[in-house]
């Protein structure tokens, strides 16, 4: 394997614990949230024990140190995706990052001439896909509800890919924004961004990528991707909970009206009205998740040292092996692409005559943690006519043996319920 997962595992205290009567833990739920290396935990703690203060608000030494730590975390995160620090907005999670853009569009209605270009209303269209996580679907449904715009979506092919047949019709002169997953958390699919972004450019639509599952798992460079916004979460990429990121092209952030308002994002405040700071501060109201940003930067450093190319290759190997091992089991059907081409390491499947909840329960009893259900992407289940799936998802600390444990667990479930 490209990485040495057995060595990497040692950096993650939680992974050495046992579950359900002393069984070693096999953690295959990193798509929901990843575990944290000691280095990330230490970075957070060191911040609290040495430098904690309110950032951008004080003139004393601690406030200076805290502000430095926070801003240098911003630079680290920016480099991680090839962006400039001024284009990185810290949010609490990817969900807030996407909502920020959605609310900026509706706030544009009352935000004055600068924000004119973001206005959305009846006749305008927002385009998503049927494989979106709820975080990249519901905010757009709600935006349409607030503004009278229309939501449209790409369908899916039977083998779990985006159906691009209608691209030119779906993305048209009425389209204001295309919001797409950059890697499906259920199917694993990595949709082809290029033709979609090119078409969006042609008709003057903005493009937002939900990168919650891509930034943790593949090298991402915003200068190479010709898109406008990228949203992701720290907790899925070895970082702490409570911190996420919105990347936006500088000139767009400059013109966008604020979303959350309060301290640290204002320029001048009078009772009669206020003016606002430039980005990124404009979008970071209140005392931010300082220690968490510092922890996220430590996670970026850790991943950079491993090498994101290697991370991706490692997961590809695990995915290939999982597709093979699961594919060998009679009665198991993969939901999503069955090869590793343009595909990440979320492997969803159904087992004939067995409900995913029951599969998951047997796996849990064996120490194998997977996720069961609709994975916050309910429309995928409807599309494929299934109630739910069982999903295994991989990360840097997973081994081929973990995949073996998964496959054996599925066979055990079949035996337990007598379906084979």
């Amino acid at each position: 394997m490209t990485l040495l997962p057995e060595e990497i595992k040692k950096d993650f205290p939680l992974l050495s614990r046992t579950v359900r009567g002393g069984r070693p833990l096999v953690y295959l739920d990193s798509g929901a949230t990843s575990q944290k290396p000691v280095r990330v935990l230490d970075a957070e703690r060191e911040f609290y024990e040495r430098h904690n203060a309110a950032v951008h608000r004080g003139a004393h030494l601690l406030a200076e140190e805290a502000t430095d730590a926070f801003e240098s975390a911003r630079s680290t995160v920016a480099s991680f995706i090839g962006a400039a620090p001024g284009e990185i907005v810290f949010t609490k999670n990817a969900t807030e990052a996407i909502n920020l853009v959605a609310y900026s569009l509706s706030n544009a209605a009352t935000a004055g001439p600068e924000a004119e270009r973001f206005k959305v209303g009846p006749g305008d269209e927002i385009v998503v896909s049927e494989m979106e996580h709820h975080a990249n679907l519901v905010p757009w449904q709600q935006l349409c509800r607030r503004t009278g715009a229309t939501l449209r979506w790409f369908g899916l092919t039977d083998d779990g890919r985006l159906d691009l047949d209608d691209l030119d019709e779906l993305v048209n002169e009425r389209t204001r924004l295309v919001a797409l997953t950059h890697q499906s958390n259920v199917l694993g699919t990595i949709p082809p961004i290029e033709p979609i972004a090119a078409r969006a450019r042609q008709v003057g639509a903005l493009v937002l990528l939900d990168a919650a599952q891509s930034v943790p798992h593949q090298p991402v460079d915003v200068t190479a991707l010709d898109v406008d916004f990228l949203a992701f979460s720290g907790h899925k990429m070895l970082g702490p909970s409570g911190v996420g990121v919105l990347w936006g092209r500088r000139e767009l952030l400059e013109a966008m009206p604020p979303f959350l308002t309060g301290g640290s994002m204002i320029e001048v405040v009078r009772m009669e009205g206020s003016t606002f700071l430039p980005p990124p501060q404009r979008f970071e109201a209140g005392v931010p998740m300082t220690a968490q940003a510092v922890g996220l930067a430590a996670a970026c450093d850790y991943l950079t040292e491993l090498g994101m190319d290697k991370v991706h290759a490692h997961e590809e190997a695990l995915t290939a092996y999982a597709l093979e091992r699961l594919g060998d089991i009679p009665g198991v059907r993969i939901i999503g692409p069955t090869t590793t081409e343009a595909r990440g390491g979320a492997v969803s499947f159904v087992v004939d005559d067995l409900h995913p909840h029951d599969v998951g329960q047997v796996l849990d009893e064996l120490g194998v943690a997977v996720r069961v259900g609709h994975h916050c992407a309910w429309p995928i289940c409807r599309r494929y006519g299934i109630p739910a799936t069982t999903r295994a998802s991989f990360y840097v600390y997973n081994t081929l043996a973990d995949v073996d444990a998964l496959a054996e667990g599925v066979r055990h479930a079949q035996k337990f319920f007598g379906t084979v």
Partner: protein, 151 residues
């Protein structure tokens, strides 16, 4: 292995051969409940004879999609409540709810719960408690509506 304590034979039997399944006429109320975390769904109808607490539950019919626990629970529930008065059935429902919230510490009353005592093991798994309760909550809701309409 703890699996056997959750998936008791009674549960697996009801799962494989659910009782009272299928939607039937007549009915006074129909409800649709879902478990938002996993997507399990149940559509459930209640047919009462009589009014108020003393009304008799003449039929409970349902269509359900979900795991063994939620399917078996719907089957056991309908077995238990059909033919009882609303008042009696509510007592059983309360008892079952208490058992499910006991985190494996409950001492179920077999006289009241009959086959439903088999779900005691499920109460140790918080994420599955909702599966076991889905049909019961739907029944309670449907019954309240049926009574509301009758009054």
């Amino acid at each position: 292995m703890q699996l056997e304590s959750m998936y008791q034979e009674i549960i697996l039997d009801h799962y494989r051969n659910p009782h009272h399944k299928g939607l039937r006429e007549p009915y006074e109320a129909e409800v649709h409940h879902v478990n938002p975390t996993c997507g399990d769904e149940v559509t459930l109808r209640v047919h009462l004879e009589g009014v108020g607490d003393d009304a008799v539950i003449a039929d409970v019919s349902y269509d359900a999609m979900g795991c063994s626990i939620s399917q078996a629970s719907a089957s056991v529930m309908s077995d238990l409540v059909i033919g009882k008065s609303v008042k009696e059935a509510m007592v059983i429902q309360d008892e079952f709810l208490e058992l499910m919230q006991s985190r494996g510490q409950g001492e179920p009353d077999e006289d009241v719960l009959e086959d439903a005592v088999a779900f005691a093991g499920v109460s140790k798994y918080p994420a599955r408690v909702k599966c076991a309760l889905l049909a019961w909550m739907a029944w309670k809701d449907a019954t309240a509506r049926a009574l509301g309409e009758a009054s």
